[in-house]
Symmetry: C2
Subunit: 458 residues, 2 copies
């Protein structure tokens, strides 16, 4: 059938989006970091009764809690982003609570939006057992959902004010309800926990995030200058390790670049993207604070743990991308700089032609190459040293499709075996430009994406 003829058809059968439910399962309550109390409840932002739309996470540690965050670089920062930046700056990297809602982004809401975000902060502050002496605000706030509408703030405040030490818990059920309060078009709650050891002390971290659409984050530390381009992604990671505020921010900035800033669902950057990390030291009364200057090795170990954990959380967002049927890792090797490798990986991961080919299960290396070549690099590509390989996730042999700039005669049956899998990797090897490598995670581009976004006012 000619392409012109195909364009005249009037219905298509959509390949069913595979269920993602198995990516969420119970976690033993003992795996969660000590010294936190949380909940997810239905405040009434979302219309469906009983669905959690408000989450609260409090640190109850007797040690000081450090806080760090990366926020969207979008010029139209939503009110909660602006307020959280101000709280963090005023407190020199200390905060003890997170409050968030889904269903309404509180973005492009003017003065009322700012007042509402501050009201959420102050109501949550009041739940803390030891309010700050200097009347500082101790809460960071996040919102996600529809843009340009005001929050139903009285409903939200009523829900916050009704929380008590009996309703704020640290078991799997509380974590799961909180994770559900993050969800918008997500199909499963995104919750992970991890245990690690530094200097002989065992620590835990737990994380929640959400994504689905408008996902191509480019986040920087607080008050960063506006960066380049690029979704709502919300996430938080909390740990019971003691980490100094400055070191916590540095570790988070590094981790976010290699995790949340290395994923794409649709290439669109949101006004609300926020990742918050809290470190409350509750695991041990005596363990020394982890700090880059005083114990670089401990810091490095923490940074590695945080980065790996952030990558796990970031991958969940891609896995549940709107309409996604594939989970694809794009690896760019042997670039002159990390930034060059990252730019190419981003370009390949956001190419609509690459993403529709992934949906079509087509080993279309020509589109991968066109995307690779469209990026401006610090050192010019040599087309004769570029190779592209499709790598299956089942451990079977990789399939080279382009070797040193020359197309291979591709075994289409073998290509299909790899591309029908839900997970696989596309590797772009630049050859001899350098030794740097970057990894990006993306999904395919399907009819579902068009349907979801063709009539959802976000």
């Amino acid at each position: 059938m000619s392409n012109a003829a195909k364009r005249l058809l009037s219905t298509v059968t959509i390949k069913p989006t595979p269920s993602k439910a198995h990516h969420h399962s119970p976690i033993p309550s003992s795996s969660f970091p000590k010294g936190y109390a949380l909940t997810g409840v239905h405040a009434g932002v979302k219309k469906i009764s009983g669905v959690p739309d408000l989450g609260i996470i409090l640190s109850t540690s007797s040690r000081p809690t450090s806080a760090a965050a990366c926020f969207t670089r979008n010029a139209f920062k939503a009110a909660p982003v602006v307020v959280s930046e101000q709280v963090l700056a005023a407190n020199n990297g200390r905060a003890r609570a997170i409050v968030l809602n889904s269903g309404c982004a509180n973005a492009v809401t003017g003065k009322q939006g700012m007042e509402d975000a501050w009201a959420m902060v102050k109501a949550t502050d009041a739940l803390l057992t030891n309010p700050s002496v200097a009347d500082n605000n101790d809460t960071l706030v996040m919102s996600t959902g529809v843009i340009g509408q005001n929050l139903p703030i009285s409903k939200i405040l009523t829900a916050i004010n009704s929380q008590t030490p009996k309703t704020l818990l640290n078991d799997f059920d509380a974590w799961e309800r909180t994770a559900k309060a993050f969800m918008t078009t997500d199909t499963f709650p995104k919750l992970r926990a991890h245990t690690f050891t530094i200097n002989g002390v065992e620590y835990r971290m737990a994380g929640i995030d959400k994504g689905a659409g408008m996902i191509h984050p480019n986040m920087g530390p607080p008050r960063a200058s506006t960066g380049q381009l690029h979704a709502t992604l919300l996430g938080c990671i909390v740990t019971d390790a003691p980490v100094s505020p400055g070191s916590l921010q540095n570790a988070l900035t590094y981790a976010v670049d290699r995790s949340f800033n290395s994923i794409s669902v649709d290439g669109d950057m949101s006004t609300n993207d926020t990742i918050i990390v809290l470190a409350n030291g509750a695991a041990s009364e005596t363990a020394a604070e982890i700090d880059e200057a005083t114990d670089p090795e401990a810091y490095e170990a923490f940074k590695v743990e945080l980065t790996a954990f952030a990558i796990d959380l970031a991958k969940l967002v891609v896995r549940d991308g709107e309409g996604a049927t594939k989970f694809v890792t794009v690896t760019v090797k042997n670039a002159a700089t990390y930034e060059d490798a990252h730019k190419i990986a981003s370009q390949v991961s956001t190419s609509n032609l690459v993403k529709t080919a992934l949906y079509g299960e087509d080993a279309n290396w020509g589109r991968v190459l066109a995307a690779t070549g469209s990026v401006s690099l610090t050192r010019d590509l040599d087309p004769t040293t570029v190779s592209v390989t499709f790598i299956p996730s089942d451990g079977s042999a990789p399939l080279p499709v382009l070797v040193n700039g020359e197309p291979e005669k591709v075994d289409e049956t073998r290509a299909k075996e790899i591309l029908v899998q839900e997970d696989f990797e596309v590797e772009v090897d630049l050859g001899a430009l350098g030794k740097e490598e970057a990894r990006y995670w993306t999904c395919d581009f399907s009819y579902e994406y068009v349907r979801i976004n063709g009539d959802y006012r976000s």
Copy 2:
């Protein structure tokens, strides 16, 4: 219905892509520039018998013919791009013929690809009535179609060699067959002619282009350093005005930035994008050559004509974008620099969320704003001075949806009246940053696009 429920549906009914056939109609043969001889024939690159896949345009003027071109900035330049750059450089901006094929892009084809492109040049050279004295090559070459496959070069050469002065003509039929030879997934041949007057002399220009997918060109003059990111777009414009080679290149570079480099179908940049212009002076034996230095006013007038004509041709590509049901003009006003305005217009025009909202006929200013804010500018945006307006193409009243950063209460009935139209404009007014303005042309993002690209090996 919840979004989660929508994701489980298994069929969709596609809104039929409107017919674009009315964008092509007969042009009087007297409107075409003098001194050209051309044809479009079936050489056998495409499988369907009789469909034109090879085009030849010769200048038969007795005056020297100037040539200029803008080529893709992709690092993986196809063989015809490399060869055309070399011809143009060796001849100091002179060339008298264009040869092109569709069906095979001759891209990523190594040494054989270069030999084939040169063979097309030399065979076409031989059709010229006065071969160059110094044995220079006088032909520029273009190819479009599948990447990574070699041309059926013997079929192509046979078709070129069989042309005679009797088969190469300058009437509407010859122009139409040539325009058809450019087509890949295009649904109609793209051909325009225009008459203009400079210094009392009447000149003509005619142009052909093609597009459909992998359309987000970023073309520069020959041997430009690789630029930023971004489609196959092929086009040629020929005129019977006399223009000096340097001035022709300068006028084309300016025109391409404001036309072909200001359109997007899918945000993907091709390895083959090429726009060629020829100026053969055949309109008048005596009119002075148009040159920037010797007659700036005449040059300026020519540049304006060329730019307006290039915009008309570029718009046809968007109009026929793969799966497009809408033709949308994105205007960004009051930016500090033209580049800032162009970057925002490009970002809005390539946002998948904006494009799916256009398909869904949803006045989703939030997505327009998120895209606007994601661009890094020379001067930071002030969110409180940004306005977004939907402007209908029928001359009825514009619909402001965001005024100075505050959402308007949108009359959804009125919004629908505008958005159901095939043509409309989205205007982003930055307020007080400056006085610069840029315009971009884009289409919506539909199920059709996914279908066309989910199984077409390009």
